[in-house]
């Protein structure tokens, strides 16, 4: 556990199951195996790479991949002979089921942006690499990086490749034919991409770290015209481009976007934020400068239409199989007030998505000064424009009012400080680590693992899983206890905060005073601990990595393999 703990407003506290654990759980057996990984191990990827239905481990160690094969007796963590040392300086690696025996996965890597190599695995042996594609115009930063570049884009069950370049992603899509053992690929398509980059080379600040972080967002691939083939949506700060798949043509995507929206032009039309002309009596007036673009099917024909909001103006453009009709919007709606945003959601349960337009009341600088010391409230309104199957009604059929109440900023600061303190104390408490897992394949209850005083204690089926309806009906406005019959709601942030409990503590409270169903004695003192449930074999039960300590050469711990 100790991973991200999400505490949503609508989370109810975990309900405890009856004190008695489920029958049979105590009889569960685990293969206990001590493990040690090189200290340089950056992370572990779990995948079945030789198709034996047993998940193997791929460790990133320095500039190489270390593979630990799983056998019926577990892993041989002392066997470091299965290692892939990549050629080149800049490597992006991924897994693919495309190459090698059925059921197995190959390790594929983009080398220095120019060539894709694949390492197939046979039994417990890594074969020499074979070249899949070369003369590519890609670019990667130095080192060994996880790159999710292998994906079947055109639905032909052959992996296609997304190669990052300078400000673009180059798509290499197979044409289904083969030349010898190699697949043939269509001419590459370059699609603009936004590199999210953070670099610090300023050596004047003792606390800041020096270096660089890079993220290339994945492009959106989904079927926008219901022809059964994924289309490509590329959005940058400057434009929105949609490439409609051409399933019959030589090229799956043409080199030009099927339709584009110039976002820079929209922003120019809306104007720039100017602090010198800011209306201090209506700070929320700044919302008039905001815009949003929603691609979704409004008229129910299965083809995405475009909803464009510019300030309080909402335009609906109709999409066709191969284009978007930008020449004339099908509908334009205008709203006064401070429009926060819009979204599409079926309100009247007729199967068509209705327009929800959200507004917020004016907020002044004076209000903010008062809220520093006193609690306050903001009225948020949702106007619902029903969808008649082609467009939205000219006037809203319903108005929801949400009174958003909140404590003073001082009070919020103090409360958050207390929560952070509690989290920190919980996280820094080296004596106790906890995690939820499913050790006995019983979906009605989760099992709690606690690592305390060099022991791992297991409480079977002690925590009831939180479930949400599959249709998401409870999710939508769940925090408000929403119903179609009610239009006025109150949302009090104070209540939300009061219901926050730190997950670890909540779980500990759940088993307070109870005797563990199983206790595993650890052979080493826990100094750098954590518990991570994973799935390593073909059963429906979790296996568990228990990290205990690190020394100058290794990360150590105990692996519980479900038996």
């Amino acid at each position: 556990m100790n991973s991200l703990i999400k505490l949503f407003a609508y989370f109810s506290a975990c309900t405890l199951l009856p004190a008695a654990s489920q029958l049979g759980a105590q009889q569960l057996e685990f293969l206990q195996q001590e493990f040690q990984l090189p200290l340089e191990t950056e992370n572990l990827l779990i995948a079945d790479i030789n198709g034996d239905d047993l998940q193997d481990l791929i460790a990133v160690v320095d500039n190489a991949l270390q593979i630990y094969f799983q056998s019926e007796t577990g892993f041989h963590f002392d066997d470091l002979s299965h290692r892939i040392i990549f050629p080149g300086q800049a490597v992006g690696w991924d897994l693919s089921r495309q190459f090698g025996a059925a059921g197995s996965s190959s390790i594929i890597a983009l080398i220095d942006g120019s060539e894709i190599l694949a390492w197939q695995v046979s039994n417990q042996s890594v074969q020499d690499p074979v070249s899949i594609l070369s003369n590519l115009n890609g670019y990667l930063s130095k080192g060994v990086n996880r790159l999710h570049f292998s994906q079947d884009i055109n639905g032909d069950n052959i992996d296609d490749f997304l190669i990052p370049g300078a400000g673009v992603i180059n798509l290499h899509i197979s044409d289904g034919s083969k030349n010898g053992d190699k697949y043939n690929y269509q001419d590459s398509l370059s699609v603009r991409s936004e590199l999210r980059m953070r670099t610090n080379l300023d050596g004047n600040h003792l606390e800041r770290r020096t270096g660089q972080a890079i993220r290339i967002p994945m492009m959106e691939l989904r079927d926008v015209n219901s022809d059964g083939f994924d289309d490509l949506i590329s959005r940058t700060e400057e434009e929105l481009n949609v490439f409609i798949a051409n399933k019959e043509g030589k090229e799956y995507f043409s080199s030009q976007a099927s339709y584009s929206l110039d976002i820079l032009e929209i922003e120019e039309r809306l104007g720039e934020f100017d602090i010198d002309n800011l209306d201090f009596s209506n700070l929320t007036g700044l919302l008039a400068l905001t815009h949003e673009e929603i691609l979704d099917d409004v008229d129910g024909d299965g083809i995405d239409d475009l909803l464009l909001r510019e300030g309080g103006k909402v335009s609906l453009f109709a999409g066709s199989e191969s284009a978007m009709n930008f020449s004339e919007p099908r509908q334009v709606l205008r709203s006064g007030g401070n429009v926060l945003g819009t979204f599409l959601q079926d309100e009247n349960e007729d199967g068509l998505k209705d327009l929800w337009l959200w507004r917020v009341e004016s907020i002044s600088v004076g209000d903010i000064f008062v809220w520093l010391a006193l609690s306050g409230s903001i009225a948020i309104e949702a106007f619902i424009y029903p969808n008649d199957g082609e467009r939205f009604a000219r006037r809203p059929s319903r108005k929801l009012t949400i009174d958003l109440k909140f404590p003073s900023v001082i009070s919020l600061t103090s409360t958050f400080r207390d929560i952070e303190k509690e989290v920190r104390e919980s996280a820094s408490d080296e004596e106790i680590f906890s995690s939820l897992a499913n050790l006995d394949a019983n979906p009605s209850g989760q099992d709690l693992l606690l690592m305390i005083n060099n022991q791992v204690k297991i409480f079977f089926n002690s925590i009831q899983p939180e479930t949400l309806p599959e249709d998401g009906s409870e999710l939508f406005l769940g925090a408000l206890d929403y119903s179609r019959e009610r239009d006025n709601y109150e949302f009090n942030i104070r209540d939300v905060i009061n219901n926050i409990s730190i997950s670890g503590n909540r779980q500990l409270n759940a088993v307070a005073g109870k005797t563990a169903d199983r206790i595993i004695e650890l052979n080493s003192e826990v100094t750098n601990g954590d518990i991570v449930p994973v799935r390593l074999n073909a059963d429906e039960r979790d296996d568990v990595f228990i990290f205990t300590d690190t020394d100058s050469g290794h990360i150590r711990g105990l692996l519980l393999l479900s038996n």
């Binding site: 991973s3 505490l7 949503f8 130095k142 990052p164 290339i216 925090a479």
Partner: protein, 526 residues
């Protein structure tokens, strides 16, 4: 003295500011009255640094900033300062090649003026701005694999304050590389020699543990189609193994990122830490005990910096940590401030010949307020520094009655400080100001005691007034701040940030005023 730039409407144009003399006290006449104003409008005024360097060697600093335009790419724009304090209306444009990640400035060539020092992922180059283009101009100074490997195609990093690190009259370079820092000694004539390397990373620590300090909390309120209105509070733990294991499933591949990679190491800071005349290195990492650790490498004239730190000390690294000379002995002491909410503690540690007793602070002070800022400032040339503390308080009664908050300035002298302590226990002066919606513009920037605006050798209290103008008050001998300003500058745009600079050799203070979408440079006119 009231100055106005109301006539300065045109961007990138120089205007001699009219001086409006009102009923002034005689002392006020000491303040600078005439400025030549230059206004530079930029789309990303806050995202891109503005650099002031003398590139043509005329003794006057020029304005340099990076610009990006689709189809053209990145360029440096240089506005040269003229002899009358104005700047060229059309900038000199210098192409930034796509390989360049960062740019610094240093005088390496015999020709007057500073050259551009350009950093790529594999080396450092010099380029003169006085020669057109790269051909016959660019020169590789050294090869080095920089820690930042990928250039940003729209932005460029600036690396300010390149220094003569070993005090031999030649520029040296301290470069962050692939897990190590390299110290390159300048040998003159654009020659550099790699003298020593050291690592600031925790080599004895698991790769998974390095740089992981994610504990914290984040709260958001959002509106979306899936959940409607939702408040989401994320609490992240600092588990070393958070995200360490990934379960691969081709059908449910992560789709949020094609690539996510990062490479960071603790920053090595150059600082004068012992009694010799050579700058030393300090950085903070995690010791083998899992606690924070301050590391110091002393500089050796012949060999540079040792591979391992010469001195280490265990340190609580929570809060803010700064190296600053608190007692005017020319060796930097250590200040750590930490706290939660409106409680802030300041811990002062004395530098004892390049070492610190980090187990016991020499002085501890506690403050109650929000946005507590500490500045240690020598008010006069070579005088003992004073401590300036500023913070905000929100008295409930005032908030109810007037919807107002208070801002406080405390000045602590040194004359009554106890043995081994740096500053007096009680403030020598206190200034309380009240702000409400009516004068909220004055909150755009804290009052600053860092600058001498009238050039009399003593720092002044510079602040943004409730009208959005910039004004200065005297700091009196008893460390109180004068009631009335002796200087005021009326800008046509709201001032959010200010600096007092020396942009030429006339010894008269010049100013930089940052607005929302523009920056005004005020050069003192004769």
């Amino acid at each position: 003295m009231l100055l106005s730039d109301s006539t300065c409407k045109l961007s990138k144009s120089a205007t001699l500011i009219a001086v409006l003399l009102g009923s002034l006290a005689p002392a006020l006449l000491l303040a600078q009255s005439n400025y030549v104003a230059f206004e530079l409008e930029r789309e990303n005024n806050w995202e891109q640094q503005l650099i002031l360097e003398d590139l043509n060697g005329d003794g006057r600093k020029d304005i340099v900033h990076a610009s990006y335009q689709t189809g053209i790419g990145r360029e440096l724009h240089v506005f040269h300062q003229q002899s009358d304090g104005s700047f060229s209306s059309i900038p000199q444009r210098i192409e930034i090649k796509t390989e360049i990640i960062a740019i610094g400035f240093a005088d390496l060539r015999p020709e007057p003026g500073k050259e551009l020092i350009m950093y790529s992922n594999s080396g450092v180059f010099s380029l003169s701005s006085s020669i057109e283009g790269y051909a016959g101009n660019i020169k590789q100074l050294l090869q080095w694999e920089l820690i930042a490997a990928v250039p940003d195609l729209e932005f460029v990093q600036f690396i300010p304050d390149l220094k003569d690190i070993d005090n031999d009259g030649e520029l040296d370079l301290l470069l962050p590389g692939d897990d190590i820092y390299g110290f390159f000694k300048g040998r003159g004539k654009e020659n550099f020699e790699l003298l020593s390397t050291f690592s600031t990373s925790n080599e004895n620590m698991a790769a998974a543990q390095r740089g992981r300090n994610n504990s914290g909390m984040d709260a958001r309120i959002g509106i979306n189609a899936e959940e409607g209105v939702v408040i989401e509070i994320d609490v992240e733990s600092d588990s070393y193994f958070d995200g360490f294991i990934e379960q691969w499933d081709q059908q449910e591949q992560q789709t949020r990122s094609l690539l996510r990679t990062e490479s960071w190491m603790p920053t090595a800071v150059l600082a004068q830490l012992n009694s010799d005349d050579l700058a030393d290195i300090a950085y903070i990492n995690i010791g083998e005990d899992g606690l924070g650790q301050l590391n110091i490498h002393y500089q050796h004239r012949q060999s540079g910096f040792a591979e391992k730190p010469d001195w280490t000390g265990s340190l609580d690294t929570s809060g803010d940590i700064r190296l600053v000379d608190m007692n005017n002995d020319q060796q930097l002491d250590l200040l750590r401030t930490s706290g939660e909410g409106n409680d802030r503690n300041a811990y002062f540690y004395r530098n004892e010949m390049g070492q610190f007793n980090l187990q016991q602070a020499d002085q501890v002070m506690r403050f109650s307020g929000y946005d507590v800022q500490l500045n240690i400032i020598p008010l006069d040339m070579d005088s003992n520094p004073i401590l300036n503390v500023s913070y905000y308080t929100i008295p409930v009664v005032d908030a109810i009655r007037n919807a107002s908050i208070n801002r406080t300035q405390l000045l602590f002298g040194t004359e009554a400080s106890e043995s081994n302590q740096f500053f007096n226990r009680r403030p020598s002066s206190k200034l309380d100001e009240s702000f409400s919606a009516a004068n909220a513009r004055a909150l755009s920037e804290q009052m600053s005691l860092l600058y001498d605006v009238d050039g009399d050798g003593r720092r002044d209290a510079l602040y943004v007034t409730e009208n959005g103008t910039l004004a200065a008050k005297k700091i009196l001998e008893d460390l109180s701040i004068a009631d009335e300003p002796f200087w005021e500058y009326v800008s046509s745009r709201t001032v959010f940030e200010f600096e007092v600079l020396a942009l030429n050799q006339d010894d008269k203070p010049d100013l930089l005023l940052r607005h929302a979408t523009a920056t005004t440079i005020l050069v003192a006119a004769p």
